[in-house]
Structures are given as structure tokens and as C-alpha cells.
Amino acid sequence: MSKTITLAPVTRIEGHAKITIQLDDNNDVADARFHVNEFRGFEKFTEGRLLWEMPGITSRICGICPASHLLTSAKAGDDILAVEIPETAEKLRRLLTLAQWLQSHALSFFHLSAPDFLLGFDSNPATRNIFGLIAADKEFAKRGIRLRKFGQEIIEILGSRRIHTPWTVPGGVREPLDPAKKDVMLGWIPEAKETVGLALDAIKKIHKKFAKEIPEFGNFRSLLVGLVSKDGGLEYYDGFLRIMDGNGNTIADKLDPKKYFEYFGEAVEPWSYLKFPYYKPFDYPKGMYRVGPLARVNICDFIETPMAEEERKIFKKLGGNVGVVNNSFYYHYARCIEMLFAVEKIEMLLNDPAILGQNIRSMASINRTEGVGCTEAPRGVLFHHYHVNKDGVIQKANLVIATAQNNIAMNRTVRQIATHFIDGKKGKITEGILNRVEAGIRCYDPCLSCSTHALGQMPLHVELLNAGGEVLDEIRR
């Protein structure tokens, strides 16, 4: 008789999910699925609201990356107003984007993932968390918390609150930067660089410590998608889409993010609220692609800041002859490199005189009835696509979230880890093995609150399947 193992809820990710692992007659893993059982509804209930409210409303999708939704929504608004925003506004928005990256990445690395690495996958789950980390290495944990605080403080300085600031609006931003506050932010830079240095040292030790396990942590070829700057550098706010395959070949470049719907489709599975975006020319599910730090650091030709560029070169060597790093475990390393880039680039932006400009908002009325905004959120490329009427009332909204774009890859990762680590014949599943499966998911730092924003129709349906795929029992609600 086949057997289904369920892990619910999956811990230390943003949101709620469960994983099911299906065994076959021989008690070998037949399949494993990552089910997202959250439901939000943002695309539907924003219909009828005004364009200018959208950044504030959509930022409420998430408490971790509200600034990413805010920025992307405001960019969709810029598109509909058909305005070019002032130089200072763009630089301030870039600053906000990087602050968002920094605080989110610090959360992912220090608070959520480090307990697995530093305390061990098989350590007591009761203490395998940020509090256990504090007990084991107080200084390291404290520095991580402070690094996140730096990111949050920039967001608060710019937008007057850490979470859900409404500071970015269609046309620009609401308030210019107070010169005195600029120095407060610059004061953080030396400590932030040092902390990111510690994170990079730690991740390299982790690579050695888990050398045997890493090859099974979501190690497969997939497409990699993200923004690159006009000259091919690591990009976070604007630029073009680039698509690279698992062999390091750029298969599409200089794609206009506003036409994302021409390149990507969204598939739906009955067992998850989370959609399955795919690259259209390769169809579903072969069009699997990954976004986020791993993709971004892989696809760019260079990073414009010197220290991060040095790390990128080391990172690329992990890909060996292929020249592309396909293992999802290295999301963590890529995330640390991006933290370094964020700190360096924040310093550059703050030292740019234009950051203190007073022209920050282009005023216009509705000049187009359709607009797309695109930025790189911490977890990957994010699209907001709105249709409005001539008065600026939303008729249709489509949000394509980074976590969703990693959905096929996350499922693949879960299956790979389950197949490797779970020996059904022993009939025993240890906590450490289950946590490895969870940790595989956590590589992607998924944010399920964000990614299940859409309105869907999925009745609660539980199926018990035998090895032949026949339904032995089912419950519907």
C-alpha cells in the first residue's frame, strides 16, 4: 500500500504551506509536492479602486517585502501616467529597493536559514531557530538582527515607517531626503560591510560543512530569469529581462519587461493556490525557470560595486566548466553577495549629490489605460500589470510574484531532496530529514503571502493515491 507523508505547516518561511510525499509500493518516493494553502484575493478586490491607491494597497500583500510591491505598483502607475520620473525620485526609489533587499536578505539568512546551518539539520527543532542561534552564537545573531535593522531604518527614514510606507507613488516619491538623515544612514555603512563579510565567511564554511549534502539540494538545470542593466550588470530596479539556460547560454536578452506576458505564461494545478509560471516558448512544465538571487548573480555580466564583483567571480567558479551555478543551495551565497552589493551601492547612492534634490514627483493624469511595472524584489523579478479606465479606476490587475515563478523549481527541489534522503524501506522519517526537505524550500526564501495574492477557485480536496494513481479515498469540502 502506498503511503503519503505530510509536513504541515512548513516552518520558517513567510506564509503557510504543506508538503506531501508520496511513496510507491516499494516504499520509494514516487512524488513530492509543495502545496500552498493560503488564499489572498488581491487581484480581484483591487478592481474598482484607483490607480493612486494601488501602491498602498498592494504593499499590504506582505509585511516582509511591502516596499517591493510599493515600488513595482508605482512603476506601473508611472507607465499609466506616461511620465518620466525626476532623477532624484529614481535614485531615492533605488535606495528604497536596496534597503528592501538588505533587510529581507538579512532576515532570510540570519533569522530563517542560519539555524539549520549553524546548529545542524538534526539538532532539536525546539531550539533550531533564531533564539537557538542567539544562545549558540549571540554576537553573530545580534549582528544579523542589526543588519536587518539597517535596511529597515533606511525604509523608515525615507518613508516615515518601516513597514507599509506609502512613500512611493505614481510619478515619483512623496518626500525628499532630509540631508541630516543621509549622514545617519552613511554612519551604518562600516558595520554593515563588516556584518556582510561575516555572513560571507559563514556561508563558505557552510559550503564545506555540507559538502556531501549540497549536491542533492535542488541541483538541476533550469532557465534563469532576471533583470540586467542596459550594459549587462546586476540590476534591481530597471533594465531589461535576460533569460539564460542551465548551460550558461543567454537564450533571450534585452527583453522589454513591459511585455512579460509575451514571454511567460501562468499554469494552474488543482492542488495548490500558487500558480506555476513558465517560459512560453518551452511550454509547461518544461519552461521551468528560477528567479531571485541565484538567477540574478548568474545572469549578469558584472556587478558594478568592487567587493561584490570579486565575490561574483568566486561564485561563478562554483559552476565549473558550465559557467552557471545550477544548485539551489547557492541561493544563500548569492543572497550574501547581493547583501554586499546592496551595502556598497547604498553608500554610492547616498554620496551622489542628486539624492538630495527637491524635484521628486511628476504630476500627470491618466494618459494610458494599461501599464506594467517591474522591479527585482528580494525573491526575484516582480511584475504588476494594471488596466484602468479613463478615470484611473482599476479594471483588471495581474501580479506575477517572484515566489510563484520559482514554484516549478521548488517542487522539483522537494522531490529531489525527498528521493535522496528518505528511505521508505526503513519506514522511519527523522525530523532532520523532514527539515532538509523544508530547508530545500527555504533556499528560495519563498513568500507565500505574496505569491498567493490571486483569486482562485480551489475547493479543499484531499486525495489518497495508490502507486497506480487510482484514488483510494478522497474528501471534499
Partner: protein, 244 residues
């Protein structure tokens, strides 16, 4: 002009003939919460937040429309009044679609301030989530009926101060709605002068300037008293507006 002497909360006060209880309390810095009342506009008595107790009567009386009589004993802060005022705000919250967190007047809203004042930490009644319309057809302003509390300040200011009488109330009871002209899109109104007075007097985010983002809409309401005084008394003097 005769003077009336009466008691508010155990203290003696005098009022000019024709004054309402609310005017006397305001002149003497006694705070009574209000919502539909606005200095400079006619009184309407719709919201009932300013209800007071008058000794000898089991009924409650709105302070904004009730005139004191000689020897009247008025109480403004009893537990019963506090309970009723809280319930009024609670009912307003449950019958509209008030989402403060994503509202254009978040932080500058009279209804929100009232909720804080009466201690509205939760709502005991089921939310009705009514289907209300948003009218963004005007070039400069937006009417979002989801946030309307039917205080009729907009109706009164447009009729009494601007003289255009764009706004009216249509429907009955809980289905009442503010409408423009002959129940048509605001942008097609021929009587609207786009003066914006209705937007500035609206206590909530029901009327706001197009383009305002979350919490960005701030309103200044003292101008109504200024205009009315200028017109009626030829006095062009700014007085501090009691924001309630």
C-alpha cells in the same frame, strides 16, 4: 436679548437666547464629540454623537439642535452616553467599508479620531461589506461612497455656501446614498463649479482629491466659518477651528 442660565455637568452656565447646547459647550471648552456638525453650516442632527442627557426626560437629545431652557440640567459624560456614542461609531464602522490602513485620509480622518476617542477597539456587529460605488468621473475629485457616513456636510456646504446644490441624498434608510445632480456621474454634473468645498468639509475619505495616495489627503475645515463670517458680518478674520 434674554440670558438663560442652566447647568451642564454640575456647573452653571449662561446662554444667549437661540444658542444650542453644543454652542454653549464649545464656547466653554466642554468637549462633546460630533461628526455631522460643522461650524458655519446649518445643523442637521444626523449622527447623534453629540447626544446629551436632560434631567426629567428619559430620551437623549442631540446637543447640536437642542436649545437650553432656564434651569435645565444637562449631562454630557455619563456612562450611558459613552456607551451609546461608542455604539454609534461601531455601527458606522460595520455598515460602511472603512479600511483605514489603505485610505487616503488615514491619520487625518474624523471618523478614525472618533473611533479612538470612544475606545472602539473592536466591532461586535457583523460587517455588512455593502457594494458601494466609486465615482472618479470628476476631473479633480473622487467620491467613494464606501467611506461615506451620510453626515451631509457636502450637501449642506454646496447648497448653503457655494449655492450650487450639486449634492442630494437618494434612497431610504441604510440604502441612502449621496448623489450628484439627477443621480448622474459627478463628472457630467452641470451644476458643479469644481470649488472643492465638499471635499474639504467631508469628515472621512469619501471625498478626496484625485491623485492622493494613502494617508496623503489632509483637509482644512476652518475656511467655512471664515467665508460665512465674511459674507454675513463683513469680517475677514481667521479663527482657530475646533477639529472634532
Amino acid at each position: 436679548m434674554s440670558v438663560i442660565t442652566f447647568i451642564i455637568d454640575d456647573e452653571h452656565y449662561s446662554a444667549k437666547e437661540g444658542d444650542t447646547i453644543l454652542q454653549v459647550t464649545r464656547d466653554n471648552k466642554i468637549h462633546i464629540p460630533t461628526l455631522c456638525y460643522l461650524d458655519g453650516l446649518s445643523t442637521f442632527g444626523a449622527c447623534r454623537l453629540c447626544v446629551v442627557e436632560i434631567e426629567g426626560s428619559p430620551k437623549l437629545f442631540p446637543a447640536c439642535t437642542t436649545k437650553p431652557t432656564e434651569g435645565m440640567i444637562v449631562r454630557t459624560k455619563t456612562d450611558r452616553l459613552k456607551r451609546y456614542r461608542r455604539m454609534i461609531v461601531e455601527l458606522l464602522a460595520s455598515e460602511g467599508n472603512h479600511q483605514c490602513a489603505v485610505c487616503v485620509v488615514n491619520g487625518h480622518c474624523e471618523l478614525q479620531n472618533l473611533a479612538y476617542e470612544v475606545g472602539l477597539d473592536h466591532v461586535r456587529f457583523p460587517y455588512l461589506f455593502p457594494h458601494k460605488s466609486l465615482d472618479a468621473t470628476h476631473k479633480e475629485f473622487v467620491m467613494d461612497r464606501n467611506r461615506c457616513v451620510l453626515c451631509t456636510r457636502c450637501v449642506r456646504v454646496c447648497h448653503e455656501v457655494e449655492g450650487a446644490h450639486v449634492w442630494d441624498i437618494a434612497g431610504r434608510g441604510i440604502n441612502c446614498e449621496i448623489i450628484a445632480d439627477l443621480n448622474q456621474p459627478w463628472g457630467t454634473s452641470e451644476s458643479c463649479t469644481s470649488c472643492g468645498k465638499c471635499v474639504r468639509v467631508c469628515p472621512t475619505g469619501a471625498l478626496f482629491e484625485k491623485g492622493a495616495s494613502i494617508g496623503e489627503m489632509q483637509k482644512e475645515r476652518g475656511f467655512i466659518k471664515f467665508i460665512v463670517n465674511a459674507r454675513n458680518k463683513s469680517e475677514w478674520v481667521h479663527t482657530a477651528h475646533e477639529e472634532e
